[in-house]
């Protein structure tokens, strides 16, 4: 009669070695047998495989992640919870986190990207915070690949379909293209929330006897083994993993979100903990909540709301059905929570209780189907993996690439049409960036800016990383990623206050990849300390490789900044003809890994140029000081493509031209030396600014109302029609998508 | 119990942008013979009714009041008798 009897016996599990298919190693299985002092049954083997997958346990990356610097005076919650939290004064806090949905988005672009948004938003509101914005950091193969176009269409539509419907504005992010991502696109999403400090919730199951309440969507078989799926490499000939993708329902999530936040407001005294069901579903949410509180937990799986019939305990625990949450509520007070959710047409069911025996016990159909020590289950044996400096890095030439300047005009026009440089407005246009009516700086600026209603404050946010730099030098490249994210924030006037990361790498079992991960984390730390931006949350996505070819090391940096006075918000667009244009920071021959090297040679190579953390901080402080004193009409950071690209972008955004003269050789226009900004200053503030900036600023020329822009270098004068150049910049992506 | 299979499509005069996009994608994929593509909606509704006539009347009624917008959409349906679902 029991449904479980159809499953393998413990002996069959042992003999068939099915656990190897579930990504448990032989050593891990043997450790389980030894610790339990018996053979684990089918369900127990399944839950160990889920909890010990890299996606859930971080067993391979943890030795490195432990090094992250994550404490300063603002940090209210560092890594380890759904999201990190920073104090922003006035009793308020900002909550943010990034998450990757790379593998699901490759298999089913629309649903993979959509459920990525859904998952990261649940991380935010499970902390008791109202999500206020989302950002996306996307990496694709080159646009001339038809498969890439299919992925772009699906992933953009999926983000739009979910984010727009739930009513959280998608305000920023970045999109870049490189052939290394053709088989492993990256979909990293970051969400930002706002809360009163007093509303803070954590995912802990304290208090013996307290009730475990399941809230939200019913459980189906979707996404089973998603966690171990995300921890396996792809092979281009093997596509049978398709069943692993979940389907999202933004309407249901909005109800769950609104009701959860209402519950936090109205019943803070009886809610003990909240956790969303993400990777490894009910299994990881329940066992981690109990383990963090040092307690045990017993669940009765017959009570779990089910969408399909005849689901097994293994399936119920491992399902990654979306839009589900777990609450722990004080015993005897459950009905208030249940009633609140039922008023909003949502399931809320008591499925278990917190116990004092530190065991994780699952009951099903009148039997105990799992009984394992909870700390053992939630602490996978760590693995220290070997590292090796990648051979390619040892062989890099120390010479900087010298760009070909034989046709400057053609070079500029080609550069601004490169997918990585050209305007992404045609894609971002599909995202509702204005819902909630708090968006001060919309997509297209250096960072997005969201006003905090009822205060003078605003929060700036951005995502950034140039993985080409990391490919050449993961330590310096990671510093540059943090620095550039901070420059984006600073350009709006906001002070950078914290970081979330999305670490996308190849297989950690490859010592060269593991080295890249280690170096990237060290690099992030160096610059984060310099800028006082602790790393408060993050996500790791490993095994991003197809047929043995790994992606570039791509640690996406999500950063948030605080602007105390929103009226000082500054944008990239030139404002008035006659304003004086300055460059802040020093320019060197920085071409290895640059956009122009990639464009002119088809690849990148050579030792990466340097970044000086002291110079970086100096530039950022000067910009913040200038914005605070209202010296600037516009501020734009310099990044891929160098000065020429920033000049043109400020010109296009403001519908004004420029006349610039420099004593540089022409190729320096394309240099990507870090720590630089482009600013425009009203003429009456010129002398004050020059005094403030001293040797560190260079006057370049004037903003003009001419139809043409013009640059004179040491060797030549280049001019172009603003309208024509802007058209290329704006329409390049659309053309390439349609081609 | 009756099973109504209801097919909803745009009226012929209404632009079906999804159909058009699918058609051009098919042409790009070299299905040159494809002439038209119409995307519609398909519903399966099981309903208890005393006879075919009342099942027909009920299906028409709920389809016209909720499932379609008569400004732009039209529908047809098939009815068949199916076994009652038994609670397991």
């Amino acid at each position: 009669m029991t449904k479980v009897s159809k499953e393998m016996s413990p002996e069959q599990v042992r003999d068939s070695k099915i656990y190897l298919d579930w990504s448990l190693t032989q050593e891990e299985y043997e450790l389980i047998v030894a610790t339990l002092d018996r053979l684990p049954n089918f369900t127990e083997t399944g839950i160990f495989s889920g909890m010990w997958s890299e996606h859930v346990s971080y067993k391979k990356s943890k030795p490195i992640l432990k090094k992250f610097w994550s404490q300063n005076e603002r940090v209210l919650q560092g890594p380890g919870e759904g999201a990190g939290i920073l104090d922003i004064g006035d009793g308020q806090a900002v909550v943010f986190k990034a998450e990757s949905h790379n593998h699901p988005s490759f298999v089913e672009p629309y649903e993979g990207a959509a459920t990525g948004i859904g998952g990261i938003l649940r991380d935010i509101f499970s902390m008791g915070a109202q999500p206020i914005a989302a950002l996306d950091s996307l990496r694709f193969g080159e646009l001339n690949n038809p498969r890439t176009r299919h992925l772009v269409d699906g992933i953009i539509a999926g983000i739009a379909g979910y984010g727009n419907a739930i009513g959280i504005p998608t305000v920023g992010g970045e999109i870049a293209f490189d052939d290394v991502y053709a088989g492993n696109p990256l979909v990293n999403v970051m969400a930002v929330g706002l809360m009163e400090k007093t509303a803070m919730q954590v995912g802990q199951a304290k208090g013996v006897g307290n009730s475990v309440i399941y809230v939200g969507a019913k459980t189906g078989r979707d996404g089973i083994n998603g966690a171990s799926f995300a921890s396996a490499e792809f092979s281009s000939t093997h596509e049978s993993d398709r069943s692993a993708v979940q389907v999202g329902d933004p309407f249901l999530e909005k109800l769950v979100m609104d009701t959860t936040l209402q519950a936090v407001r109205e019943y803070a005294d009886i809610i003990v903990g909240i956790q969303d069901m993400g990777a490894a579903g009910l299994l990881s949410s329940s066992s981690e909540m109990a383990s963090k509180a040092g307690q045990g937990m017993t669940l009765n799986l017959d009570l779990v709301p089910q969408r399909e019939t005849n689901m097994t305990p293994y399936e119920l625990m491992l399902s990654e059905s979306q839009e589900r949450m777990l609450f722990v509520v004080k015993r005897g007070e459950e009905q208030a929570i249940i009633d609140l959710f039922e008023t909003n047409d949502l399931d809320a069911v008591i499925i278990g209780e917190v116990t004092d025996n530190e065991q994780f016990i699952l009951e099903f159909d009148g039997e105990i189907v799992a009984d394992v020590p909870i700390d053992f289950l939630t602490h996978a044996p760590k693995q220290d993996l070997p590292m090796a400096v990648p051979a390619r890095i040892k062989e890099l030439s120390s010479k900087q690439y010298l760009p070909d300047m034989s046709d400057l005009k053609k070079t500029v026009l080609s550069l601004i049409a490169q997918p990585t440089i050209a305007s992404k407005a045609a894609l971002f246009r599909h995202f509702d960036s204005m819902v909630r009516a708090d968006t001060v700086i919309k997509p297209g600026g250096d960072a997005a800016l969201i006003r905090v209603r009822g205060t003078q404050k605003a929060l700036a946010m951005t995502t950034d990383v140039n993985a080409r730099y990391l490919y050449l030098d993961p330590l310096k490249g990671a510093q540059m990623a943090v620095a550039e994210a901070a420059r984006n924030i600073v350009a709006t006037g906001a002070l950078p206050i914290g970081i979330t990361d999305g670490l996308n790498f190849g297989s950690p079992d490859n010592p060269e990849v593991y080295y890249e991960l280690d170096q990237a984390v060290s690099g992030i730390n160096i610059m984060a300390k310099q800028l006082n931006t602790p790393i408060i949350s993050g996500n790791v996505s490993l095994y991003n490789e197809t047929d043995g070819r790994a992606i570039y090391p791509t640690p996406m940096i999500g950063m948030v900044g605080l602007l105390e006075d929103v009226t000082k918000a500054t944008t990239i667009d030139f404002k008035n003809a006659g304003d004086v244009i300055y460059l802040i920071g020093e320019t060197e021959a920085s071409f290895n890994g640059s956009e122009i090297q990639k464009m002119q040679t088809g690849s990148i190579g050579g030792q990466l140029f340097d970044i000086d953390p002291t110079a970086e901080l100096k530039s950022q402080r000067l910009v913040l000081e200038g914005i605070d004193q209202k010296l600037f009409a516009s501020v734009h950071d310099l990044s891929e493509g160098g000065l020429i690209v920033s000049l043109l972008e400020s010109s296009f955004a403001g519908n004004l031209s420029f006349q610039v003269t420099t004593n540089w050789l022409s190729h320096y226009l394309f240099s990507e030396t870090p720590s630089r900004f482009l600013v425009s200053v009203p003429a009456d503030k010129m002398s004050y600014f020059e005094e403030l900036g001293g040797q560190y600023v260079t006057k370049l020329g004037l903003v003009t109302s001419d139809d043409d822009w013009q640059i004179t270098t040491a060797t030549e004068t280049l001019a172009g029609s603003r309208a024509e150049t802007k058209k290329i910049y704006q329409e390049s992506i659309s053309w390439q998508l349609k081609a | 119990m009756y099973l109504a299979k209801i097919y909803v499509t745009y009226k012929p005069s209404i632009l079906d942008p999804q159909g058009e996009v699918i058609k051009s994608a098919l042409h790009r994929m070299d299905y040159a013979g494809v002439q038209t593509v119409t995307q519609g909606k398909y519903f399966e509704v099981k309903l208890q009714a005393t006879d075919v006539d009342s099942a027909t009347a009920e299906t028409q009624s709920f389809t016209e009041s909720l499932l379609i917008n008569q400004n732009t959409e039209t529908y047809r349906f098939d009815l068949s008798l199916v076994a009652d679902e038994v609670d397991v």
Binding site: A165, G167, F251, L255, R429, D432, A437, V440 | N69
Partner: protein, 224 residues
């Protein structure tokens, strides 16, 4: 003036509308679509969003919410009823405004700011704007392509029921229609979002005239 902003399950611009109304000193509150009494309100706003997920068709399920009988009653009593974006879609599904909003001509959601022309400046929604004045208002929709048969469109034109038109049609709407009202002029719907264009800090205040117009219309009616 007392205003109700109806919150349907899935509405997501309800608070944006509430804050915009409150910025103009209106005594506004959110009213759940599960209630059915609007007798205490002078004006009723159906906000943007994805009511009931916009599953089946935009607005199709919301129109059967309990509140909609009260909305219909208020409309019959001559009260001002305003539907923005999803609210417009609900009003057409409910038959309180003619026509229907179809999928954009080029499928896909569009978020942008577009120029609108004031097609009729003598309405409760436009009386502070000038005839043919152009205003920049945000749009955010995937199904904003206004459709009605030719006879209905002619009737809308002849009765001056077209209130706003797109200067550069973003979604394929018939005759560039962005907003219409009923024959009596008290029920109005538009796809663009004036409530997102009232606060100087967000960089656009072209929507202020919309709210000022409604306030002035109601004030005139109350004092008349």
């Amino acid at each position: 003036m007392r205003a109700a902003v109806i919150s349907f399950p899935g509405s997501n611009c309800d608070f944006d509308m509430l804050y915009a109304l409150q910025d103009f000193g209106v005594d506004a509150q959110i009213i759940s679509a599960k209630t059915n009494d609007l007798t205490n309100f002078d004006a009723i706003f159906l906000p943007g969003g994805f009511s009931y997920g916009d599953y089946l068709r935009t607005g199709a399920i919301a129109r059967f919410s309990p509140i909609m009988s009260a909305v219909t009653q208020a409309a019959n009593e001559g009260k001002i009823i305003v539907g923005i974006c999803n609210g417009f879609q609900i009003l057409t599904e409910a038959g309180l405004l003619p026509g229907q909003l179809l999928m954009n001509k080029n499928p896909g959601f569009i978020c942008d700011e577009v120029l609108l022309t004031i097609a009729n400046p003598d309405t409760a929604y436009t009386n502070t704007y000038n005839a043919n004045e152009k205003i920049l208002i945000p749009i955010a929709h995937g199904e904003g392509n206004y459709y009605a048969d030719e006879a209905t469109l002619d009737q809308l034109e002849n009765n001056h029921q077209v209130v706003f038109r797109y200067a550069d049609n973003p979604n394929g709407s018939a005759r560039d229609i962005a907003g219409i009202m009923n024959e009596q002029g008290n029920v109005f719907g538009m796809m663009p979002h004036p409530e997102r264009a009232v606060d100087p800090i967000t960089g656009n205040i072209d929507g202020q005239g919309f709210f000022k117009s409604i306030l002035s219309a109601i004030l005139t009616k109350v004092t008349a």
